[in-house]
Symmetry: C2
Subunit: 430 residues, 2 copies
């Protein structure tokens, strides 16, 4: 039991962080403890965490705590002095990337990573134009707010930004997907031409390879490659925002861009990188990193500290020791099969989304239109049933599930059983 | 001894982080361990750390490590669930601010803090213009690069930015200072008028109350207040960047803006806040925080996590338990007196700068011009003498010293003795 009431805590939070700092659920959930995929609330009740991807190797993993604790008692300092901890980590991380991605900028968050990637791209190309998806989010700074389309910001879309509707081939035949792909690439051509006509030119396309904020879209075969080819033909760079899709969550691949025949010039990292420790990165080529380094005195006080590096290195080591990527693949396949079964059983489930341990269900009304009210109700019901999930998508009708990577088969079964029960309570099975 | 050679480590660093990631000293210094104000290099040699302000309560402070370790083994999660740790910290931090500064945004770095403060100011005022000092640095994002004047960035100064020469009254009579103040405020009037004429208007003035990057300038009495009054008359907000001047380092005051008769609308925090843990903040009024929250869905994944909050709270607790602000005042007075003595003894020392535990010496040539070569040589000599310092200022001729707050009197004496010896080796005392 916590020594205060949740209502009092909420009042105190409002009086310090304000009333608009976002909280999940109709009645906010006060959490006090975590372990593996389990969370405990202030009343002692436990929840299966099927939402949080930041605690990548599990809540309160002792190996991460040990690494941070040891390093905090040894040395924590910026990178203007030499220290082997950051170099050891950089080598281990870069080993997971294919050539020519062999250099690393360390930062403190995904926002800082995307900021830096766009600075590199703008300076390299001499252009300012950016292509993004028309329902996406890449961070909370001014220039990222100017290209935010997936949540509310006061800044209007920048003059130098074009937002593309990412085509979704879920449920389409190959022939239909091919037509959709061609028309979406034509839209990209027009967007690039429009940036050029306006004098912005094109510096980069920035996208999450999983298109997760968009609702875990599945672009038609060849779309992403075609988009990248057009961007490069216009002199732009490809930036893969792997804040959500990276670090093996997709099971089959370590990095989301490996889903495609694609070598981005810049890959941005964040959320799961330090299991909650604030750390992010930009992986790029030696050419781009050196060019930027020559032109700018880039320094980031906290980034690359031995403690941040130790936390991030512990994540890679635990992933390896506990074989979390293969587990994500196996559990992901098991979960996908059961979700397909739910889609067959429940007319409200229009499609199964995602891959590995990032998955979702698209919910629709009997007339086929998006059912955000069902997604909202299911998220609340699942909480009552002891499982934490959320929702995403342009129409807010896609259940969003991305548990810590240490999810066990039995826990996956529990999640799916509860999901089936909540779907069933929402509407009887067909 | 470290298990690698420093030369090998440098090669490995170049091959991962590149050759341009900044390093101190002609021969980079490999550090392996810290405790209090002491650092140990890879050969086992110890150095008195008179440079690093980030390890505010001392290197490897056990209370910070304990707090982080305990919380990492309990829960580390974002603020969309309720948790008391962040609220406890927010209350403790906000208690150190005068009304009406009673709300807090938590972020991960000083860059994120300044980004957010400027978003708040732009949205509140409906204007984009910004005033900064003409030799300053506030962070590494795109919009902060556009107002960077104190280090090399490829981005040109933004059209919406005007850089003011901050007047320095060191060594002037009251009458001279008064004339200087009037002319500097006239420059501010012209800059504001120019922003208005160009259609940008004025959103904010952003400055470090200690003017530290500028070389620890001492503006004439009334200048900062006059500047703030002009900014407000033009509808702009005052943003105090307390990344360097905050958390009691100045001894007499907890926050640098308290040096003046001034209540900023926004105060930004970073470096020392978590003793090296990546955490920053923006302190503001309820009105500004709520207005921004209504207009924007602002969320920051890592910021305000229980671990970040526990690290930052431990810093406040240690400051209190070890009475670090009063110590900074007392040791600062002692150091200032000894520095004044050095200034009298050595013609190369033109002035003593700073306050509390952020202090410096301005070095000049016999003809009175700035002596960056002397600052460089002294920084290297001090390293050889076992003391770490650095240099700042428009002309790179100001020695920069800001040791961890736990500096003891005997350690201050050691620093000053070594400094006197190095000055003496550079030139015989007068």
């Amino acid at each position: 039991m916590s020594p205060h009431s949740t209502a009092d805590l909420l009042t105190r939070r409002y009086a310090t962080l304000g009333e608009h700092s976002p909280l999940f659920y109709r009645e906010p959930l006060e959490l006090v403890r975590g372990e593996g995929v389990w969370l405990t609330d202030a009343t002692g009740r436990t929840y299966l965490d099927a939402y949080n991807n930041v605690p990548h190797v599990g809540h309160a993993h002792p190996a991460v705590a040990d690494a941070v604790n040891r390093q905090l008692r040894t040395l924590n300092l910026h990178t203007r002095y030499l220290n082997h901890v950051v170099v050891d980590y950089a080598e281990a991380l870069l080993e997971t990337f294919a050539d020519p991605l062999d250099r690393l900028f360390l930062v403190n968050s995904g926002s800082e990573a995307n900021e830096l990637a766009l600075r590199v791209a703008r300076q390299h190309t001499g252009h300012t134009g950016v292509l993004v998806s028309d329902f996406s989010y890449h961070g909370n700074t001014t220039s990222l707010a100017q290209l935010t389309t997936g949540l509310t910001v006061a800044e209007p879309l920048g003059d130098h930004v074009r937002a593309l509707r990412i085509p979704d081939a879920a449920g389409l035949t190959d022939a239909e997907a091919s037509v959709l792909c061609a028309s979406a690439l034509q839209e990209a051509d027009q967007a690039i031409a429009s940036l050029q006509a306006a004098g912005h030119g094109l510096s980069a396309v920035l996208f999450d390879p999983l298109f997760s904020t968009e609702g875990l879209l599945r672009p038609p075969q060849g779309y992403v490659e075609g988009l990248a080819a057009r961007v490069r033909a216009a002199g732009g760079l490809v930036v893969a925002d792997e804040v959500q899709s990276g670090f093996g969550r997709l099971g089959d691949v370590m990095w989301g861009h490996e889903l495609f025949d694609l070598s981005p010039e810049l890959v941005t990292l964040g959320k799961p990188m330090g299991n909650g420790h604030p750390v992010g990165g930009v992986v790029t080529t030696a050419e781009l990193l050196d060019e930027f380094g020559r032109r700018n005195m880039y320094f980031n006080t906290f980034a690359g500290s031995p403690v941040s590096s130790a936390a991030a290195h512990a994540v890679l080591r635990v992933m390896d020791a506990e074989q979390l990527r293969p587990r994500a693949r196996q559990n992901g396949e098991f979960i996908a099969a059961r979700l397909e079964q739910l889609a067959r059983e429940y007319p409200a489930v229009a499609s199964v989304r995602g891959q590995g341990l990032f998955f979702g269900l698209t919910l629709v009304r009997p007339d086929g239109s998006a059912a955000p009210e069902a997604a909202r109700a299911l998220t609340e019901r699942m909480r009552e049933a002891g499982v934490l999930i959320s929702k995403i998508g342009r129409e807010d009708n896609v259940l969003k599930m991305r548990p810590p990577m240490v999810l066990e088969r039995a826990e996956a079964e529990l999640l799916l059983d509860r999901l089936a029960a909540c779907l069933s309570a929402l509407e009887p099975a067909a």
